[in-house]
């Protein structure tokens, strides 16, 4: 099993979610986050006042997937979230040793 942690542009969330559902990914945890990578922040003005926008809005999607679907999920995310500009986001992958469904004690991929 692999955990995918994906940070994307908020505007791309619907497209990414639809693409994941399309390939059979059913469960995900979504969080509204702020951050930046190389994109960094910038300064904006509103009525003469200066606003430093150093942390930009992003959406983080976390999911644990059976290994056989991970490549397709990565492809679905990159296709749906890519604009080609700085700030499109990142995908992090990590091995997961065990998963347990609290309700009935299912283990492993059965618990996903």
């Amino acid at each position: 099993m692999t955990k995918l942690e994906t940070v994307i542009q908020p505007a791309k969330f619907d497209a990414v979610k639809d693409a994941l559902i399309e390939i059979g990914v059913e469960g995900m945890t979504v969080t509204e986050v702020r951050g930046h990578g190389r994109q960094k922040g910038h300064t904006e003005f509103y009525r003469g006042r200066e606003y430093t926008v150093d942390l930009l809005p992003k959406v983080k999607i976390e999911m644990v997937l059976p290994d056989h679907i991970v490549d397709r999920a990565v492809q679905a995310i990159t296709s749906a979230a890519r604009t080609g500009k700085i700030g499109d986001g990142k995908i992090f992958l990590a091995r997961v040793d065990e998963a347990i469904r609290i309700r009935n004690d299912d283990r492993g991929e059965n618990a996903l």
Binding site: E44, F45, R47, V53
Partner: protein, 864 residues
């Protein structure tokens, strides 16, 4: 003595009878009938066991008494059985302990959850602050068996005396207990999966209302508990109890335990089986709508009663409310924090009733039960005579903008008067959007959205504070509030697109209310686009300039952007308490500031080619069909900003003014507008024109709050000034309006001297101010291809615009476009300037900056 019945026979009989009652309920669906049958069954069982187990114990000096729900004969399938073993004295109590134990054991074996207690008569007549529940449950006591005279003494003497003696403490305790219970549910009836018993508006609130009635009656000298109990429920409360009892009964059978949550799945079953609907199967949303209708009635009734008893008994509260009674006027009196009609007949007059709701919206004071009763009695007459036109709008606009508007609207709606005034609202009366996101019914969502905006100014949440400033800048907040009131009315119509339905209903409403064309267009625009910003936030990259450009194009003008931003904020926040996260609020603010910035930096983009501008042009031509080419010629060179910030009627008026320039070279229109004055000037452009106009207004003592200046390719200038008449010159002396306009004309035509007019004003016009604002000057050379943008943020002061425009003229700059705005003590002015027809050189920019910095510093009085 009755013959002993074996336990297994009792258990079998109890089980079979319980199943029969359940089958009857499933067949008929009557909760009250089921509760009554079940009470009789448990009565029989308890009495049988009493006869068996207490045969050898003294029958005198001991009674078996049903308490709580069992005592009220409202025994739900899996409720606790509250039993009191009432004894004459402690010795008797000791004697019956083994029998009590045996009786309870057998009932447990039957599957009944018995809660027994053994108390002497003296115990029951004492008030125990720490066991309020016992005294409350005694209110519902009912004799099952044993010593009748002992029970009679409890019921007829000790209990009434206890209640009469301790009524204050009892009511206080009951009030606190209820408040704590309501707090557990967020003090609202609106939950996605409500609890039918303990939730606000649930059965427990019905009982609270009954108990208050009984305590108040007994403390006022009534001695008969039975008659007091019978009189405590009435009308809509009885309907609500029938609904809640049937539904709770179903939940008990469904869950097989005392679980009163109407879960998502349970809602579907209750609706499909038509439980408590009186009309067979309905949709789950419709079933929930019925639930909310009853819960609302119960919650209102119990809250009103609790408020009433708290007011009568708390001296601190009375002192506070006495202070509030000072707001009483000739029409309405405020007593104990509730509003009453001074003249009973006024409750039958629609105009007086509308003024009552304005009064409530202003002071945040709830209706007294008496006023509510009078309004209910007069409902038919009010429904027939409720105005529907401009008269209604004059009252509604005032109420909507007052701080407690939401509560006034709620009160109006609960009396069925809001739907008489605004029939469009009827479509969303208690309408349920059955998903896991929308927590409130659509009507309550609307009231909450209005409440959100009124509370914005005082909201301590850092992510909401910038919006609080925004709402105070609105020129016509009443239009935003009207749009909020109507924005979701389409949800009650058939069809997938509720926005389309809402727009249709809004158009009908604004026509009936006789709003001006401009105001009507703004309200319809807000309703039609109320999802636009949400959609942009969700689907578009808000840091992409194309997104901002497109959004600005759709919205058209900064004032509409402010209103739509606030409407979006309120709409999201009123969906559920967690819907507006700080993350969303920040993104909304960023989208707003970026779009507002775009408006300032695109003000000289020419407009005839843009899609939205073209639509405006076509509408102007519709108004002047015979002058198509002349209109297009007039509009050539005018920027998009001009077209989007003026209605077609306004553009047509400017065109007409420009057409008259040949006969009269200075065309003026002066009119009062929202507590200020608006002066429109059309004339041929010439150097220093804007400076001259600003100077004339200053010399007349006018305080300019907003201004725009645009010119077309033929050199016709259309300048608009919004100003406060600081000395009420025009307001108090109508002939001065003519003299003022003559003065403007003469100076513009160089027939009179501006300098002479200014002389008197310049001598004495420096008033100290409390808050100083630091001056910022900023250039933007990128945003316009033809002009240099100069943004000035500085302390507002008399004659500021004249000072700035004079300095720019002295520095040989022409003002191509001017956008002047004032927010409290801050002046925010944007000028698109050229020098010799070109952008400013670096050297000229430095010179202008130096001169302005010096002038603005010089213009400050010594204490600034």
């Amino acid at each position: 003595m009755a013959a002993a019945v074996p336990d297994f026979a009792l258990r079998n009989n109890y089980r079979q009878e319980s199943q029969r009652i359940q089958r009857d309920f499933e067949a008929v669906g009557s909760g009250l009938a089921s509760l009554s049958s079940r009470t009789r069954l448990v009565d029989t069982l308890a009495l049988t066991l009493w006869e068996q187990h207490f045969a050898e114990v003294a029958k005198q000096g001991c009674s078996l008494v049903a308490l709580g729900g069992f005592g009220r004969s409202e025994l739900f399938p899996y409720s606790d059985i509250d039993l009191l073993f009432l004894t004459e004295n402690d010795a008797c109590g000791e004697l019956i302990k083994p029998a009590v134990s045996s009786l309870c054991q057998t009932m447990w074996d039957c599957g009944l959850r018995v809660s027994p207690c053994v108390r002497t008569l003296a115990d029951c007549g004492r008030f125990d602050q720490g066991n309020l529940e016992l005294t409350l449950s005694l209110l519902d006591c009912r004799l099952l068996g044993g010593d009748q005279s002992l029970f009679d003494r409890l019921h007829g003497k000790h209990l009434p005396q206890l209640i009469a003696r301790e009524s204050d403490a009892l009511l206080q305790g009951l009030s606190e207990m209820t408040q704590t219970r309501h707090q557990r549910f967020g003090n609202t009836i609106f939950h996605l999966e409500p609890n039918l018993k303990d939730g606000p508006g649930g059965l427990r609130d019905c009982h609270v209302a009954q108990w208050i009635g009984m305590i108040v009656a007994l403390s006022s000298g009534h001695r008969d508990l039975v008659s007091v109990r019978q009189n405590s429920a009435h009308g809509e409360m009885l309907d609500a109890m029938e609904f809640l009892c049937s539904s709770r009964c179903y939940l008990h059978y469904r869950h097989g335990r005392d679980d009163n949550s109407v879960t998502w799945a349970a809602q579907e079953e209750l609706a499909a089986r038509g439980i408590a609907t009186g009309a067979g199967a309905v949709s789950p949303a419709e079933w929930m709508r019925l639930y909310f209708r009853h819960a609302k009635a119960v919650y209102r009734n119990s809250s009103q009663l609790l408020g009433q008893v708290s007011r009568e008994r708390s001296s601190l509260y009375r002192s506070f409310q006495h202070w509030r009674s000072r707001v009483s006027n000739s029409e309405f009196s405020v007593v104990d924090g509730r509003v009453y009609f001074q003249q009973a007949a006024d409750a039958r007059e629609a105009a007086a009733v509308l003024r009552l709701f304005i009064f409530m919206a202003h002071h945040g004071i709830a209706l007294s039960p008496e006023a509510e009763r009078r309004l209910n009695d007069a409902h038919l007459r009010l429904a027939e005579t409720m105005p529907q036109d401009e008269f209604l709008w004059q009252h509604l606009r005032e109420a909507l903008t007052l701080p407690h508007a939401a509560n006034a609207l709620r009160a109006m709606h609960s009396l069925n008067l809001l739907t008489r005034a605004v029939p469009e609202f009827e479509t969303i009366d208690l309408l349920v959007l059955r998903d896991l996101y929308h927590r409130y019914t659509v009507d309550e969502h609307t009231f909450m959205a209005i409440e959100v905006l009124h509370r914005l100014k005082d909201d301590q949440n850092p992510s909401l504070q910038p919006f609080g400033q925004l709402i105070s800048e609105l020129e016509h907040p009443e239009l935003l509030f009207l749009a909020l009131l109507l924005h979701d009315t389409g949800k009650g119509l058939e069809g997938a697109d509720h926005v389309h339905g809402s727009v249709q209903l809004t158009a009908a409403a604004v026509e009936r209310l006789q709003l001006s064309e401009e105001d009507a267009a703004t309200v319809c625009f807000l309703v039609a686009n109320h999802l636009e910003i949400s959609s942009t936030l969700r689907r578009r990259d808000i840091y992409d300039p194309a997104t901002i450009r497109e959004l600005a194009g759709k919205i058209g003008a900064p004032e509409r952007l402010k209103m739509l931003t606030l409407l979006t904020l309120a709409d999201i926040k009123a969906v559920n308490p967690e819907a507006l996260t700080p993350w969303k609020a920040e993104n909304l603010w960023r989208l707003y500031t970026r779009t507002a910035g775009y408006f300032d930096r695109s003000a000289d983009v020419e407009g005839l080619d843009a899609k939205v501008s073209t639509e405006v042009v076509e509408k102007v031509i519709e108004l002047l069909p015979t002058q198509r080419s002349e209109v297009r010629k007039f509009l050539e060179g005018l920027p998009q900003r001009y077209l989007l910030s003026h209605s077609p009627e306004q553009v047509a008026q400017h065109f007409t003014m420009a057409g008259n320039l040949a006969a009269e070279p200075v065309q003026l229109r002066l009119r009062p507008n929202s507590g200020q004055h608006e002066l429109i000037v059309a004339t041929d452009d010439h150097p220093g024109l804007f400076r001259t106009l600003a100077g004339i207004l200053y010399a007349w003592g006018m305080d300019i709050t907003k201004a725009t200046a645009f010119s077309n390719r033929s050199g016709v200038v259309v300048d608009s000034f919004y100003f406060k008449d600081r000395f009420h010159t025009l307001e108090l002396n109508p002939p001065e309006c003519e003299r003022f306009q003559r003065s403007v004309r003469e100076i513009l035509m160089r027939e009179a001297s501006l300098d002479r007019l200014l002389e008197s004003r310049l001598k004495a016009d420096h008033k100290p101010v409390k808050l100083s604002v630091k001056t910022h000057l900023r250039y933007d050379e990128v945003c316009s291809s033809r002009s240099t943008l100069l943004e000035i943020i500085t302390q507002d002061r008399p004659g500021l615009l004249h000072t700035i425009s004079s300095t720019l003229t002295t520095e040989e700059c022409s003002i191509e476009v001017a956008l002047i705005d004032t927010e409290g003590p801050v002046a925010h002015d944007v000028f698109y300037i050229t020098c010799g027809g070109h952008k400013l050189t670096a050297e000229r920019m430095r010179a202008v900056e130096w001169a302005l910095t010096a002038e603005l510093a010089d213009a400050l009085p010594a204490n600034w």
